[in-house]
Amino acid sequence: MRVKRLLSAVAAIALLPAVAQAEGELNIYNWGNYTSPEMIKKFEDTYNVKVTITDYDSNDTALAKVRAGGHGFDIVVPSANYVPIWVNEGLLLEARPDQMENFKNVDERWVNVPWDMGRDYTVPWQWGLTGITVDTSVYKGDINTSSIFLDPPAELVGKINVAPEMNDVLFATIRYFGGEWCTTDKEVLKKVRDKLVEAKPKWIAMDYGTIEKFASRDYAAAYYWNGAAMRAREKNTDVRFGFPKEGFPFFMDSVAILADAKNPENAKLFMNFIMDPENAAMISNFAKYSNGIKGSEAFMDPAMKDAPELVVPSEFQEAGAFLQSCAPEVNEFYAKIWTDVNK
Protein backbone atom coordinates (compact mmCIF):
# COMPACT_ATOMS: atom_id res chain seq x y z
CA MET A 1 0.00 0.00 0.00
CA ARG A 2 1.22 3.44 -0.92
CA VAL A 3 0.39 4.95 2.43
CA LYS A 4 2.14 2.19 4.31
CA ARG A 5 5.31 2.55 2.30
CA LEU A 6 5.33 6.31 2.83
CA LEU A 7 4.86 5.85 6.55
CA SER A 8 7.68 3.37 6.87
CA ALA A 9 10.00 5.70 4.96
CA VAL A 10 9.13 8.50 7.32
CA ALA A 11 9.60 6.20 10.31
CA ALA A 12 13.09 5.39 9.08
CA ILE A 13 13.94 9.09 9.06
CA ALA A 14 12.48 9.61 12.51
CA LEU A 15 14.48 6.81 14.04
CA LEU A 16 17.83 7.89 12.62
CA PRO A 17 20.23 8.73 15.41
CA ALA A 18 20.01 12.44 16.07
CA VAL A 19 23.72 12.84 16.71
CA ALA A 20 26.51 11.40 14.61
CA GLN A 21 29.27 9.41 16.27
CA ALA A 22 32.12 11.39 17.76
CA GLU A 23 34.64 11.06 20.54
CA GLY A 24 32.68 13.26 22.85
CA GLU A 25 29.60 15.39 22.84
CA LEU A 26 28.65 18.85 23.97
CA ASN A 27 25.11 20.13 24.25
CA ILE A 28 24.84 23.89 24.14
CA TYR A 29 21.60 25.66 25.05
CA ASN A 30 21.85 29.22 23.81
CA TRP A 31 19.82 32.15 22.48
CA GLY A 32 18.73 31.55 18.91
CA ASN A 33 20.95 32.71 16.06
CA TYR A 34 23.65 33.71 18.53
CA THR A 35 26.32 31.05 18.09
CA SER A 36 28.88 31.37 15.32
CA PRO A 37 28.82 28.14 13.26
CA GLU A 38 32.40 28.86 12.21
CA MET A 39 33.56 28.94 15.83
CA ILE A 40 31.67 25.72 16.61
CA LYS A 41 33.25 24.01 13.62
CA LYS A 42 36.68 25.00 14.84
CA PHE A 43 35.92 23.71 18.34
CA GLU A 44 34.63 20.41 16.95
CA ASP A 45 37.72 19.94 14.81
CA THR A 46 40.14 20.90 17.56
CA TYR A 47 38.77 18.58 20.22
CA ASN A 48 36.93 15.99 18.15
CA VAL A 49 33.72 16.75 19.98
CA LYS A 50 30.28 16.74 18.39
CA VAL A 51 28.42 19.90 19.35
CA THR A 52 24.63 20.14 19.39
CA ILE A 53 23.06 23.56 19.67
CA THR A 54 19.53 24.12 20.89
CA ASP A 55 17.85 27.54 20.90
CA TYR A 56 15.83 29.43 23.44
CA ASP A 57 14.25 32.82 23.08
CA SER A 58 13.99 34.09 26.63
CA ASN A 59 15.78 33.79 29.95
CA ASP A 60 12.59 32.64 31.60
CA THR A 61 12.05 29.80 29.14
CA ALA A 62 15.62 28.61 29.60
CA LEU A 63 15.33 28.77 33.39
CA ALA A 64 12.00 26.94 33.44
CA LYS A 65 13.28 24.17 31.19
CA VAL A 66 16.50 23.54 33.02
CA ARG A 67 14.80 23.73 36.39
CA ALA A 68 12.27 21.10 35.29
CA GLY A 69 15.14 18.65 34.66
CA GLY A 70 15.68 15.98 32.03
CA HIS A 71 17.04 18.54 29.58
CA GLY A 72 20.41 16.95 28.73
CA PHE A 73 22.21 20.27 28.21
CA ASP A 74 25.78 20.99 29.28
CA ILE A 75 26.09 24.71 28.68
CA VAL A 76 23.68 27.59 29.03
CA VAL A 77 24.16 31.33 28.36
CA PRO A 78 22.01 33.31 30.82
CA SER A 79 21.92 37.09 31.03
CA ALA A 80 23.67 38.89 33.87
CA ASN A 81 20.58 39.53 35.98
CA TYR A 82 19.61 35.88 35.80
CA VAL A 83 23.00 34.40 36.76
CA PRO A 84 22.43 34.83 40.54
CA ILE A 85 19.09 33.02 40.23
CA TRP A 86 20.76 30.10 38.47
CA VAL A 87 23.50 30.02 41.09
CA ASN A 88 21.13 30.28 44.05
CA GLU A 89 18.96 27.48 42.77
CA GLY A 90 22.04 25.28 42.45
CA LEU A 91 21.66 24.85 38.71
CA LEU A 92 25.23 25.80 37.82
CA LEU A 93 28.51 23.97 38.23
CA GLU A 94 31.24 25.93 39.99
CA ALA A 95 33.55 25.51 37.03
CA ARG A 96 36.20 27.99 38.24
CA PRO A 97 36.94 29.56 34.85
CA ASP A 98 39.16 32.04 36.73
CA GLN A 99 41.70 29.24 37.02
CA MET A 100 41.62 28.37 33.34
CA GLU A 101 44.50 29.03 31.03
CA ASN A 102 42.83 31.64 28.83
CA PHE A 103 41.26 33.58 31.69
CA LYS A 104 44.14 36.07 31.44
CA ASN A 105 42.48 37.35 28.25
CA VAL A 106 39.30 38.48 30.01
CA ASP A 107 39.09 42.26 30.16
CA GLU A 108 39.59 43.37 33.84
CA ARG A 109 36.35 45.28 33.57
CA TRP A 110 34.44 42.00 33.27
CA VAL A 111 36.21 40.05 36.03
CA ASN A 112 34.68 41.41 39.21
CA VAL A 113 31.10 41.69 38.06
CA PRO A 114 28.27 41.90 40.60
CA TRP A 115 26.54 38.75 39.38
CA ASP A 116 29.67 36.58 39.60
CA MET A 117 32.47 38.18 41.62
CA GLY A 118 35.82 36.92 40.40
CA ARG A 119 34.14 34.67 37.82
CA ASP A 120 33.72 31.38 39.66
CA TYR A 121 30.88 30.23 37.42
CA THR A 122 30.72 32.11 34.15
CA VAL A 123 32.77 33.59 31.36
CA PRO A 124 31.73 36.51 29.15
CA TRP A 125 29.98 35.67 25.91
CA GLN A 126 28.77 39.02 24.58
CA TRP A 127 27.64 42.30 26.04
CA GLY A 128 25.70 45.28 24.84
CA LEU A 129 23.19 47.84 25.95
CA THR A 130 19.75 49.17 25.26
CA GLY A 131 19.72 52.73 24.00
CA ILE A 132 18.24 55.12 21.52
CA THR A 133 18.31 54.60 17.77
CA VAL A 134 17.27 57.58 15.65
CA ASP A 135 17.00 58.23 11.94
CA THR A 136 18.73 61.63 11.86
CA SER A 137 17.14 62.57 8.55
CA VAL A 138 13.88 62.82 10.49
CA TYR A 139 15.08 64.32 13.77
CA LYS A 140 18.22 66.36 14.24
CA GLY A 141 18.20 67.18 17.96
CA ASP A 142 20.00 65.55 20.90
CA ILE A 143 19.60 61.80 20.82
CA ASN A 144 21.45 60.94 24.02
CA THR A 145 18.28 60.96 26.08
CA SER A 146 15.36 58.71 26.94
CA SER A 147 13.02 61.59 26.17
CA ILE A 148 13.21 60.40 22.57
CA PHE A 149 10.68 57.70 23.47
CA LEU A 150 9.24 59.06 26.72
CA ASP A 151 8.62 62.67 25.65
CA PRO A 152 9.09 62.32 21.91
CA PRO A 153 9.71 65.40 19.74
CA ALA A 154 6.88 66.05 17.28
CA GLU A 155 8.88 64.76 14.29
CA LEU A 156 9.15 61.32 15.82
CA VAL A 157 5.62 60.84 17.16
CA GLY A 158 4.07 57.75 15.61
CA LYS A 159 7.40 56.45 14.34
CA ILE A 160 8.97 55.03 17.49
CA ASN A 161 9.50 51.40 18.29
CA VAL A 162 10.16 50.23 21.83
CA ALA A 163 11.61 46.81 22.60
CA PRO A 164 8.91 44.71 24.28
CA GLU A 165 11.14 44.08 27.28
CA MET A 166 9.59 44.83 30.64
CA ASN A 167 12.88 45.28 32.51
CA ASP A 168 14.68 47.41 29.93
CA VAL A 169 11.76 49.79 29.48
CA LEU A 170 11.06 50.18 33.19
CA PHE A 171 14.77 50.67 33.88
CA ALA A 172 15.10 53.61 31.51
CA THR A 173 11.86 55.16 32.72
CA ILE A 174 12.69 54.84 36.41
CA ARG A 175 16.07 56.42 35.78
CA TYR A 176 14.41 59.12 33.72
CA PHE A 177 12.66 60.21 36.91
CA GLY A 178 15.82 59.92 38.97
CA GLY A 179 14.93 56.66 40.66
CA GLU A 180 17.18 53.68 41.18
CA TRP A 181 16.51 50.29 39.62
CA CYS A 182 14.48 48.02 41.94
CA THR A 183 13.12 51.08 43.72
CA THR A 184 9.85 50.73 45.57
CA ASP A 185 9.37 54.49 45.87
CA LYS A 186 5.72 54.82 44.95
CA GLU A 187 6.01 58.44 43.96
CA VAL A 188 8.59 57.60 41.35
CA LEU A 189 6.76 54.50 40.18
CA LYS A 190 3.51 56.37 39.79
CA LYS A 191 5.28 58.87 37.56
CA VAL A 192 6.80 55.97 35.66
CA ARG A 193 3.47 54.35 35.00
CA ASP A 194 1.73 57.58 34.07
CA LYS A 195 4.55 58.54 31.75
CA LEU A 196 4.49 55.19 29.98
CA VAL A 197 0.71 55.26 29.64
CA GLU A 198 0.98 58.77 28.20
CA ALA A 199 3.87 57.95 25.87
CA LYS A 200 2.63 54.66 24.48
CA PRO A 201 0.09 56.12 22.02
CA LYS A 202 2.99 58.03 20.46
CA TRP A 203 4.81 54.81 19.64
CA ILE A 204 4.13 52.85 16.52
CA ALA A 205 5.00 49.46 17.94
CA MET A 206 6.60 47.42 20.68
CA ASP A 207 8.28 44.84 18.58
CA TYR A 208 11.49 43.04 17.73
CA GLY A 209 13.27 43.27 14.39
CA THR A 210 14.03 46.97 14.05
CA ILE A 211 16.82 46.64 11.49
CA GLU A 212 14.43 45.99 8.65
CA LYS A 213 12.12 48.79 9.64
CA PHE A 214 14.85 51.41 9.77
CA ALA A 215 15.96 50.26 6.35
CA SER A 216 12.41 50.60 5.01
CA ARG A 217 11.93 53.81 7.02
CA ASP A 218 8.84 52.56 8.80
CA TYR A 219 10.57 53.52 12.04
CA ALA A 220 12.38 56.77 12.73
CA ALA A 221 13.39 56.01 16.31
CA ALA A 222 13.65 53.10 18.68
CA TYR A 223 14.60 52.11 22.19
CA TYR A 224 16.55 49.01 21.28
CA TRP A 225 19.87 47.15 21.44
CA ASN A 226 23.08 48.72 20.15
CA GLY A 227 24.16 45.78 17.99
CA ALA A 228 20.90 46.07 16.07
CA ALA A 229 21.47 49.82 15.72
CA MET A 230 24.82 49.14 14.11
CA ARG A 231 23.26 46.80 11.60
CA ALA A 232 20.46 49.28 10.95
CA ARG A 233 23.09 51.95 10.18
CA GLU A 234 24.65 49.64 7.62
CA LYS A 235 21.28 49.67 5.82
CA ASN A 236 20.30 53.27 6.41
CA THR A 237 23.26 55.61 6.81
CA ASP A 238 21.16 58.25 8.58
CA VAL A 239 20.74 56.03 11.62
CA ARG A 240 22.63 57.06 14.77
CA PHE A 241 22.78 55.53 18.23
CA GLY A 242 22.36 57.54 21.42
CA PHE A 243 23.29 56.67 25.00
CA PRO A 244 20.51 57.98 27.26
CA LYS A 245 22.20 60.27 29.78
CA GLU A 246 19.46 59.67 32.34
CA GLY A 247 20.41 56.01 32.50
CA PHE A 248 20.45 52.92 30.33
CA PRO A 249 20.77 49.19 31.01
CA PHE A 250 23.74 47.06 30.02
CA PHE A 251 23.32 43.40 29.37
CA MET A 252 25.91 40.67 29.34
CA ASP A 253 25.24 37.07 28.49
CA SER A 254 27.69 34.69 30.14
CA VAL A 255 28.56 31.08 29.46
CA ALA A 256 27.93 28.72 32.36
CA ILE A 257 28.09 24.94 32.86
CA LEU A 258 25.05 23.19 34.26
CA ALA A 259 25.35 21.31 37.54
CA ASP A 260 23.94 18.14 35.98
CA ALA A 261 25.93 18.40 32.74
CA LYS A 262 26.74 15.04 31.20
CA ASN A 263 29.91 16.32 29.54
CA PRO A 264 31.41 18.74 32.06
CA GLU A 265 34.96 18.23 30.79
CA ASN A 266 34.05 19.15 27.23
CA ALA A 267 32.09 22.08 28.59
CA LYS A 268 35.19 23.33 30.41
CA LEU A 269 37.20 22.96 27.22
CA PHE A 270 34.60 25.10 25.54
CA MET A 271 34.75 27.78 28.24
CA ASN A 272 38.49 28.01 27.87
CA PHE A 273 38.17 27.94 24.09
CA ILE A 274 35.93 31.01 23.87
CA MET A 275 38.25 33.08 26.05
CA ASP A 276 40.80 32.89 23.24
CA PRO A 277 40.76 36.26 21.41
CA GLU A 278 40.50 34.78 17.96
CA ASN A 279 37.57 32.58 18.90
CA ALA A 280 35.83 35.36 20.80
CA ALA A 281 36.14 37.53 17.70
CA MET A 282 34.34 34.86 15.67
CA ILE A 283 31.43 35.07 18.11
CA SER A 284 31.28 38.85 17.76
CA ASN A 285 31.64 38.83 14.00
CA PHE A 286 28.65 36.55 13.80
CA ALA A 287 26.32 38.09 16.36
CA LYS A 288 27.59 41.70 16.17
CA TYR A 289 28.07 42.48 19.83
CA SER A 290 31.24 43.10 21.85
CA ASN A 291 32.68 40.13 23.69
CA GLY A 292 34.82 41.25 26.66
CA ILE A 293 38.00 39.44 25.64
CA LYS A 294 41.18 41.53 25.33
CA GLY A 295 42.91 41.33 22.00
CA SER A 296 39.87 40.10 20.11
CA GLU A 297 39.65 43.46 18.31
CA ALA A 298 42.57 42.39 16.15
CA PHE A 299 40.44 39.61 14.65
CA MET A 300 37.20 41.52 14.33
CA ASP A 301 35.58 42.78 11.14
CA PRO A 302 36.85 46.30 10.45
CA ALA A 303 33.26 47.55 10.37
CA MET A 304 32.80 46.43 13.95
CA LYS A 305 36.13 47.60 15.31
CA ASP A 306 35.27 51.27 14.81
CA ALA A 307 31.51 51.06 15.28
CA PRO A 308 30.41 53.99 17.47
CA GLU A 309 27.45 51.97 18.72
CA LEU A 310 29.72 49.46 20.43
CA VAL A 311 31.91 51.90 22.34
CA VAL A 312 30.35 53.76 25.23
CA PRO A 313 31.69 57.35 25.25
CA SER A 314 33.36 58.13 28.57
CA GLU A 315 30.86 60.87 29.47
CA PHE A 316 28.01 58.34 29.36
CA GLN A 317 29.89 55.50 31.06
CA GLU A 318 28.39 56.42 34.45
CA ALA A 319 24.82 56.42 33.17
CA GLY A 320 24.91 52.74 32.32
CA ALA A 321 24.19 50.03 34.87
CA PHE A 322 23.49 46.34 34.84
CA LEU A 323 19.94 45.23 35.31
CA GLN A 324 19.86 43.36 38.56
CA SER A 325 17.25 40.86 39.58
CA CYS A 326 14.89 42.73 41.87
CA ALA A 327 13.31 41.14 44.93
CA PRO A 328 10.22 39.05 44.14
CA GLU A 329 7.79 41.62 45.63
CA VAL A 330 9.38 44.36 43.56
CA ASN A 331 9.21 42.27 40.43
CA GLU A 332 5.53 41.60 41.06
CA PHE A 333 4.94 45.29 41.42
CA TYR A 334 6.78 46.00 38.17
CA ALA A 335 4.80 43.30 36.36
CA LYS A 336 1.60 45.02 37.47
CA ILE A 337 2.77 48.35 36.14
CA TRP A 338 3.70 46.64 32.90
CA THR A 339 0.26 45.02 32.59
CA ASP A 340 -1.34 48.38 33.31
CA VAL A 341 0.68 50.00 30.55
CA ASN A 342 -0.10 47.28 28.03
CA LYS A 343 -3.76 46.64 28.74
Binding site: E165, M166, K190, A335, K336
Partner: protein, 308 residues
Protein backbone atom coordinates in the same frame (compact mmCIF):
# COMPACT_ATOMS: atom_id res chain seq x y z
CA UNK B 1 -31.08 -14.70 33.99
CA UNK B 2 -32.31 -11.44 35.35
CA UNK B 3 -35.04 -9.50 33.67
CA UNK B 4 -32.64 -6.82 32.60
CA UNK B 5 -30.71 -9.15 30.30
CA UNK B 6 -33.11 -8.98 27.42
CA UNK B 7 -31.46 -9.15 23.99
CA UNK B 8 -32.17 -5.47 23.51
CA UNK B 9 -30.36 -4.66 26.71
CA UNK B 10 -27.40 -6.80 25.76
CA UNK B 11 -27.21 -5.10 22.39
CA UNK B 12 -27.47 -1.75 24.10
CA UNK B 13 -24.65 -2.62 26.46
CA UNK B 14 -22.52 -3.82 23.60
CA UNK B 15 -23.17 -0.60 21.78
CA UNK B 16 -22.08 1.42 24.78
CA UNK B 17 -18.93 -0.65 25.08
CA UNK B 18 -18.12 -0.17 21.40
CA UNK B 19 -18.59 3.55 21.69
CA UNK B 20 -16.10 3.73 24.51
CA UNK B 21 -13.65 1.45 22.72
CA UNK B 22 -13.81 3.54 19.58
CA UNK B 23 -13.31 6.81 21.36
CA UNK B 24 -10.71 5.57 23.81
CA UNK B 25 -7.55 6.16 21.72
CA UNK B 26 -8.39 9.80 21.16
CA UNK B 27 -9.53 10.28 24.74
CA UNK B 28 -6.39 8.61 26.01
CA UNK B 29 -4.06 10.77 23.95
CA UNK B 30 -5.81 13.96 25.02
CA UNK B 31 -5.74 12.84 28.64
CA UNK B 32 -2.06 11.97 28.63
CA UNK B 33 -0.70 14.87 26.65
CA UNK B 34 -3.15 17.69 27.33
CA UNK B 35 -5.59 17.24 30.20
CA UNK B 36 -3.42 15.28 32.62
CA UNK B 37 -0.70 17.90 32.71
CA UNK B 38 -3.41 20.51 33.26
CA UNK B 39 -4.06 19.05 36.68
CA UNK B 40 -0.55 20.17 37.47
CA UNK B 41 -1.61 23.65 36.40
CA UNK B 42 -4.73 23.44 38.53
CA UNK B 43 -2.57 22.52 41.51
CA UNK B 44 -0.14 25.31 40.67
CA UNK B 45 -2.95 27.87 40.63
CA UNK B 46 -3.45 27.17 44.34
CA UNK B 47 0.18 27.49 45.32
CA UNK B 48 2.29 30.48 46.26
CA UNK B 49 4.34 31.85 43.42
CA UNK B 50 8.02 31.04 43.34
CA UNK B 51 10.45 33.90 43.76
CA UNK B 52 11.84 33.55 40.26
CA UNK B 53 9.12 31.78 38.34
CA UNK B 54 7.62 28.42 39.15
CA UNK B 55 5.79 27.87 42.44
CA UNK B 56 6.61 27.12 46.03
CA UNK B 57 5.54 23.50 46.19
CA UNK B 58 2.87 22.67 48.75
CA UNK B 59 2.56 26.20 50.00
CA UNK B 60 -1.16 26.85 49.70
CA UNK B 61 -2.25 30.25 48.46
CA UNK B 62 -5.23 31.73 46.69
CA UNK B 63 -3.35 34.80 45.50
CA UNK B 64 -3.41 33.54 41.94
CA UNK B 65 -7.19 33.24 41.86
CA UNK B 66 -7.60 36.50 43.73
CA UNK B 67 -5.55 38.18 41.00
CA UNK B 68 -7.87 36.93 38.27
CA UNK B 69 -10.86 38.82 39.59
CA UNK B 70 -9.56 41.61 41.77
CA UNK B 71 -6.69 43.95 41.76
CA UNK B 72 -5.30 45.99 44.55
CA UNK B 73 -4.43 49.36 43.14
CA UNK B 74 -0.66 49.44 43.03
CA UNK B 75 -0.53 52.95 44.42
CA UNK B 76 -3.37 53.54 46.85
CA UNK B 77 -4.13 49.91 47.77
CA UNK B 78 -7.85 50.19 47.03
CA UNK B 79 -9.41 46.93 46.02
CA UNK B 80 -11.18 46.89 42.67
CA UNK B 81 -12.34 44.46 40.03
CA UNK B 82 -9.31 43.53 37.92
CA UNK B 83 -10.04 46.01 35.18
CA UNK B 84 -6.85 45.31 33.24
CA UNK B 85 -7.87 41.66 32.91
CA UNK B 86 -11.40 42.60 31.94
CA UNK B 87 -10.23 45.11 29.33
CA UNK B 88 -7.88 42.57 27.80
CA UNK B 89 -10.54 39.86 27.87
CA UNK B 90 -13.09 42.09 26.15
CA UNK B 91 -10.61 43.11 23.46
CA UNK B 92 -9.79 39.46 22.79
CA UNK B 93 -13.48 38.56 22.72
CA UNK B 94 -14.30 41.35 20.28
CA UNK B 95 -11.47 40.55 17.89
CA UNK B 96 -12.17 36.81 18.03
CA UNK B 97 -15.86 37.26 17.30
CA UNK B 98 -15.11 39.55 14.38
CA UNK B 99 -12.52 37.10 13.07
CA UNK B 100 -15.07 34.30 13.24
CA UNK B 101 -17.68 36.32 11.38
CA UNK B 102 -15.30 37.44 8.66
CA UNK B 103 -13.86 33.98 8.10
CA UNK B 104 -17.40 32.66 7.89
CA UNK B 105 -18.40 35.33 5.37
CA UNK B 106 -15.41 34.55 3.17
CA UNK B 107 -15.15 30.87 3.96
CA UNK B 108 -18.74 29.88 3.22
CA UNK B 109 -18.74 30.94 -0.45
CA UNK B 110 -15.26 29.53 -0.89
CA UNK B 111 -16.23 26.16 0.54
CA UNK B 112 -19.36 26.22 -1.62
CA UNK B 113 -17.23 26.96 -4.65
CA UNK B 114 -14.94 24.00 -3.89
CA UNK B 115 -17.83 21.68 -3.17
CA UNK B 116 -19.40 22.44 -6.53
CA UNK B 117 -16.25 21.65 -8.55
CA UNK B 118 -16.13 18.34 -10.42
CA UNK B 119 -15.54 15.55 -7.90
CA UNK B 120 -12.01 14.72 -8.97
CA UNK B 121 -10.87 18.33 -8.69
CA UNK B 122 -12.10 18.93 -5.16
CA UNK B 123 -9.07 17.45 -3.43
CA UNK B 124 -6.86 19.70 -5.51
CA UNK B 125 -8.79 22.76 -4.37
CA UNK B 126 -8.63 21.63 -0.76
CA UNK B 127 -4.89 21.36 -1.14
CA UNK B 128 -4.75 24.83 -2.62
CA UNK B 129 -6.47 26.18 0.49
CA UNK B 130 -3.89 24.65 2.79
CA UNK B 131 -0.71 25.21 0.77
CA UNK B 132 -0.11 28.73 2.11
CA UNK B 133 -0.06 27.15 5.54
CA UNK B 134 2.84 24.90 4.77
CA UNK B 135 5.05 27.87 5.47
CA UNK B 136 5.02 28.55 9.14
CA UNK B 137 3.03 31.17 10.95
CA UNK B 138 5.93 33.51 11.73
CA UNK B 139 7.06 33.90 8.17
CA UNK B 140 3.49 34.17 6.93
CA UNK B 141 2.89 36.95 9.41
CA UNK B 142 6.03 38.74 8.24
CA UNK B 143 4.77 38.48 4.69
CA UNK B 144 1.45 39.96 5.84
CA UNK B 145 3.43 42.91 7.21
CA UNK B 146 4.83 43.41 3.75
CA UNK B 147 1.36 43.48 2.26
CA UNK B 148 -0.20 45.96 4.66
CA UNK B 149 2.62 48.31 5.57
CA UNK B 150 2.59 51.90 4.41
CA UNK B 151 4.82 51.21 1.42
CA UNK B 152 3.23 47.78 0.98
CA UNK B 153 1.09 46.39 -1.79
CA UNK B 154 -2.33 47.46 -0.55
CA UNK B 155 -1.28 51.03 0.13
CA UNK B 156 0.63 51.31 -3.12
CA UNK B 157 -2.48 50.26 -5.00
CA UNK B 158 -4.70 52.59 -2.96
CA UNK B 159 -2.48 55.58 -3.60
CA UNK B 160 -1.73 54.76 -7.23
CA UNK B 161 -5.42 54.43 -8.08
CA UNK B 162 -6.17 57.65 -6.23
CA UNK B 163 -8.57 56.06 -3.77
CA UNK B 164 -6.57 57.67 -1.00
CA UNK B 165 -3.96 60.39 -1.26
CA UNK B 166 -1.92 59.22 1.73
CA UNK B 167 -1.08 55.65 2.70
CA UNK B 168 -3.51 54.32 5.31
CA UNK B 169 -1.84 53.18 8.51
CA UNK B 170 -3.02 49.58 8.83
CA UNK B 171 0.04 47.89 10.27
CA UNK B 172 0.20 48.03 14.08
CA UNK B 173 -3.50 48.69 14.50
CA UNK B 174 -6.36 46.44 15.56
CA UNK B 175 -7.23 46.23 11.88
CA UNK B 176 -3.92 44.55 11.23
CA UNK B 177 -4.65 42.01 13.97
CA UNK B 178 -8.03 41.37 12.41
CA UNK B 179 -6.53 40.96 8.93
CA UNK B 180 -3.85 38.67 10.28
CA UNK B 181 -6.15 36.47 12.33
CA UNK B 182 -8.61 36.17 9.46
CA UNK B 183 -5.76 35.05 7.26
CA UNK B 184 -4.34 32.61 9.75
CA UNK B 185 -7.66 31.01 10.67
CA UNK B 186 -9.35 30.95 7.27
CA UNK B 187 -8.60 27.29 6.44
CA UNK B 188 -9.94 26.27 9.84
CA UNK B 189 -13.28 27.63 8.65
CA UNK B 190 -13.17 26.55 5.02
CA UNK B 191 -12.27 22.90 5.53
CA UNK B 192 -15.00 21.88 7.99
CA UNK B 193 -17.52 23.80 5.89
CA UNK B 194 -16.33 21.99 2.81
CA UNK B 195 -16.48 18.65 4.58
CA UNK B 196 -20.16 19.06 5.37
CA UNK B 197 -21.04 20.75 2.07
CA UNK B 198 -19.30 18.31 -0.19
CA UNK B 199 -22.15 15.84 -0.25
CA UNK B 200 -24.84 18.46 -0.57
CA UNK B 201 -27.57 16.81 -2.60
CA UNK B 202 -28.34 19.23 -5.40
CA UNK B 203 -31.61 17.47 -6.15
CA UNK B 204 -32.85 19.12 -2.96
CA UNK B 205 -31.68 22.47 -4.24
CA UNK B 206 -33.30 21.83 -7.58
CA UNK B 207 -36.52 20.85 -5.86
CA UNK B 208 -36.36 24.13 -4.01
CA UNK B 209 -36.09 26.08 -7.23
CA UNK B 210 -38.90 24.02 -8.75
CA UNK B 211 -41.06 25.21 -5.89
CA UNK B 212 -40.29 28.78 -6.92
CA UNK B 213 -37.89 29.51 -4.10
CA UNK B 214 -35.38 32.22 -4.95
CA UNK B 215 -31.65 31.85 -4.41
CA UNK B 216 -31.66 33.47 -1.01
CA UNK B 217 -34.48 31.24 0.16
CA UNK B 218 -32.71 28.16 -1.16
CA UNK B 219 -29.58 29.20 0.67
CA UNK B 220 -31.40 29.88 3.92
CA UNK B 221 -33.89 27.06 3.95
CA UNK B 222 -32.01 24.24 2.25
CA UNK B 223 -28.26 24.75 2.13
CA UNK B 224 -27.54 26.35 5.49
CA UNK B 225 -29.49 23.83 7.58
CA UNK B 226 -27.58 20.98 5.95
CA UNK B 227 -24.15 22.52 6.37
CA UNK B 228 -24.85 23.77 9.87
CA UNK B 229 -22.61 21.15 11.51
CA UNK B 230 -19.75 22.43 9.39
CA UNK B 231 -20.48 26.03 10.35
CA UNK B 232 -20.45 25.06 14.01
CA UNK B 233 -17.22 23.12 13.70
CA UNK B 234 -15.55 25.93 11.76
CA UNK B 235 -16.68 28.60 14.19
CA UNK B 236 -15.32 26.63 17.12
CA UNK B 237 -12.00 26.04 15.40
CA UNK B 238 -11.64 29.73 14.59
CA UNK B 239 -13.13 31.38 17.65
CA UNK B 240 -11.48 29.47 20.45
CA UNK B 241 -7.89 29.45 19.23
CA UNK B 242 -8.12 33.11 18.25
CA UNK B 243 -9.04 33.97 21.86
CA UNK B 244 -5.59 32.83 22.90
CA UNK B 245 -3.77 34.09 19.81
CA UNK B 246 -0.24 35.18 20.50
CA UNK B 247 1.92 35.63 17.42
CA UNK B 248 -0.43 37.73 15.31
CA UNK B 249 -1.19 40.43 17.88
CA UNK B 250 2.49 40.52 18.61
CA UNK B 251 3.83 40.95 15.09
CA UNK B 252 1.00 42.72 13.27
CA UNK B 253 -0.54 44.60 16.17
CA UNK B 254 2.91 45.84 17.14
CA UNK B 255 2.55 44.26 20.56
CA UNK B 256 1.24 47.49 22.05
CA UNK B 257 -2.05 46.11 23.24
CA UNK B 258 -2.14 42.75 24.92
CA UNK B 259 -4.57 40.03 24.12
CA UNK B 260 -5.30 37.17 26.49
CA UNK B 261 -2.54 35.01 25.06
CA UNK B 262 0.00 37.75 25.72
CA UNK B 263 -1.30 38.43 29.23
CA UNK B 264 -0.98 34.78 30.17
CA UNK B 265 2.42 34.53 28.54
CA UNK B 266 3.62 37.49 30.60
CA UNK B 267 2.77 35.64 33.82
CA UNK B 268 4.84 32.63 32.82
CA UNK B 269 7.65 34.85 31.55
CA UNK B 270 8.98 38.12 32.91
CA UNK B 271 5.98 38.56 35.26
CA UNK B 272 7.04 35.43 37.17
CA UNK B 273 3.56 34.76 38.45
CA UNK B 274 2.77 31.21 37.43
CA UNK B 275 -0.20 30.78 39.79
CA UNK B 276 -1.91 33.83 38.29
CA UNK B 277 -1.15 32.61 34.77
CA UNK B 278 -2.57 29.20 35.63
CA UNK B 279 -5.67 30.69 37.24
CA UNK B 280 -6.39 33.01 34.31
CA UNK B 281 -6.12 30.17 31.83
CA UNK B 282 -8.31 27.82 33.83
CA UNK B 283 -10.91 30.56 34.11
CA UNK B 284 -10.72 31.04 30.36
CA UNK B 285 -11.06 27.33 29.76
CA UNK B 286 -14.11 26.99 31.97
CA UNK B 287 -15.80 29.98 30.30
CA UNK B 288 -15.13 28.61 26.85
CA UNK B 289 -16.15 25.08 27.79
CA UNK B 290 -19.48 26.21 29.22
CA UNK B 291 -20.14 28.45 26.23
CA UNK B 292 -19.28 25.61 23.89
CA UNK B 293 -21.57 23.06 25.51
CA UNK B 294 -24.46 25.52 25.64
CA UNK B 295 -23.84 26.56 22.05
CA UNK B 296 -23.65 23.03 20.71
CA UNK B 297 -26.79 22.02 22.52
CA UNK B 298 -28.70 25.09 21.39
CA UNK B 299 -27.39 24.93 17.82
CA UNK B 300 -28.17 21.23 17.61
CA UNK B 301 -31.76 21.80 18.69
CA UNK B 302 -32.56 24.79 16.52
CA UNK B 303 -30.95 22.98 13.57
CA UNK B 304 -33.83 20.54 13.60
CA UNK B 305 -36.49 23.19 13.53
CA UNK B 306 -35.29 24.65 10.26
CA UNK B 307 -36.20 21.52 8.40
CA UNK B 308 -39.86 22.00 9.29
Amino acid sequence: MSASDTPARIAQRQKTRNRWLLSSPALLIVFVAAIGPLFVMLAYSFMAKGDYGGVKPWEFSTDGWFGVFFSRDIFDDTLTIADANVTIFLRSLRLSLLTTLITLAIGFPTAFFIATRPARMRDVWVFLITIPFWTNILIRTFAMQEVIRNEGIINTVLVATGITSEPVQILYTDWAILFGMTYVYLPLMVLPLYASMEKLDFRLVEAGYDLYANRIQVLRRIIIPIVKPGMIAGSILVFIPSLGAYVTPRVLGGGKNMMLGNLIELQFGAGRNWPLGAAISITLMVLVMVALLVYVRYAGRSGGQHHG
